[in-house]
Symmetry: C2
Subunit: 200 residues, 2 copies
DNA sequence: GTCTATAATTAGATAGAC
DNA sequence: GTCTATCTAATTATAGAC
């Protein structure tokens, strides 16, 4: 016997998960609330009941995705121990690539919104990307005089693009090159490739 | 006095250019044919007259964008002369970055469609990406034993992502880092950064 | 060739029964 | 809390006047 509170949480959970998948696959506009409801095994009315609007549902989905990044990656990096700062940096990059492979939604969300100047992009930057970028900058500073400060934006987007594009465009990659990038081996190869590139 | 043929070509030209901009900014679904017609200073009816459907207009826009890549980049690379293959490769990469900066539509088109398994993605791969990738592979082979064959897909997506993301997400980059990536100086900095990274 | 009017779908949001 | 029915607005594609 489920309590109302539990039922509420369950349904919200299912809807948010379905929304993450639909938004990532189809983009914000093409992902209809009816499609999301169908994936969540409910009906469209419940979406506006639990979330006031499609925009609010989108923000809940983004919160979830970036929350995962923070906990998963933060945890893994905290567990890392290395005396050699270069070895540490390489493994940190590998972990980021692994996360990108497991969660291509994050990159898709970013490019889907990053091209516009609309409110969703602004919200995404202010609430989730700014903290992420600050962490990246601190991370870069830990290497001492390794990277010049003015190069940090370039380094950030190079890292993000190089790490994630192959997974975000997985169907295209499969058809174009024959390689399935989400394979365990392909992920590790890509992680090693990017890590060695950025920290030779 | 314009002939009908000229008028026809003119209108088609305006519509295709408007479509490129709208598809790149808004994505395929969010870019309505009315919005495109408005940007082209015509009406929606003319779009279905000149192009049978929105899909066909999209293909015409993609043809135009990839045509530009082929002519512009092909021309610039043909003009390059260098005895040192590494110096040649570096400058080739710089030219690709410059093109990505001037034409962020190309990358946006690719990620917009590359995530799905739909017909537009398949058409894009088969008609435009395959030739591009083949050129990249030949290019890589010119370096002799530099890059292993199994790494080529990884190298391709690393190059594409590292070169283009910062320009494709320009509004986000501005808000996040304060840097306007389409500045002449920022473009050159990025080109040098990526070129040195991939060919140290 | 151009443009307006309109048909047929589909979207997000709301109302009310249960 | 859930689900169905419905409202309003926007979409693509079509028809027909000029």
């Amino acid at each position: 016997m489920k309590s109302r509170a539990q039922q509420r949480a369950d349904t919200r959970e299912r809807i948010v998960e379905a929304a993450i998948g639909a938004f990532a696959e189809l983009g914000f506009n093409a992902a209809s609330t009816r499609e999301i409801a169908s994936r969540a095994n409910t009906n469209q009315g419940l979406i506006t009941y639990h979330f006031r609007s499609k925009d609010e549902l989108w923000r809940a989905a983004a919160d979830r995705v970036f929350g995962r990044l923070q906990t998963t990656l933060g945890e893994r990096l905290a567990r890392l121990e290395s005396d050699d700062p270069r070895a540490f940096a390489r493994e940190a990059i590998r972990e980021y690539v692994r996360f990108s492979a497991a969660h291509p939604e994050l990159f898709r969300l970013m490019v889907d919104e990053g091209k516009t100047s609309e409110s969703r992009m602004q919200w995404l930057v202010d609430t989730h990307l700014k903290p992420l970028y600050t962490g990246f900058v601190r991370f870069g500073a830990a290497f001492g005089p390794g990277v010049e400060e003015s190069l940090l934006p370039h380094a950030y987007y190079v890292l993000a693009g190089a790490s994630s594009l192959i997974f975000a465009a997985a169907p295209e990659c499969r058809r174009l090159t024959g390689l399935s990038p989400e394979t365990r081996q392909a992920v590790e190869t890509h992680a090693e490739f990017v890590a060695r590139l950025l920290v030779p």
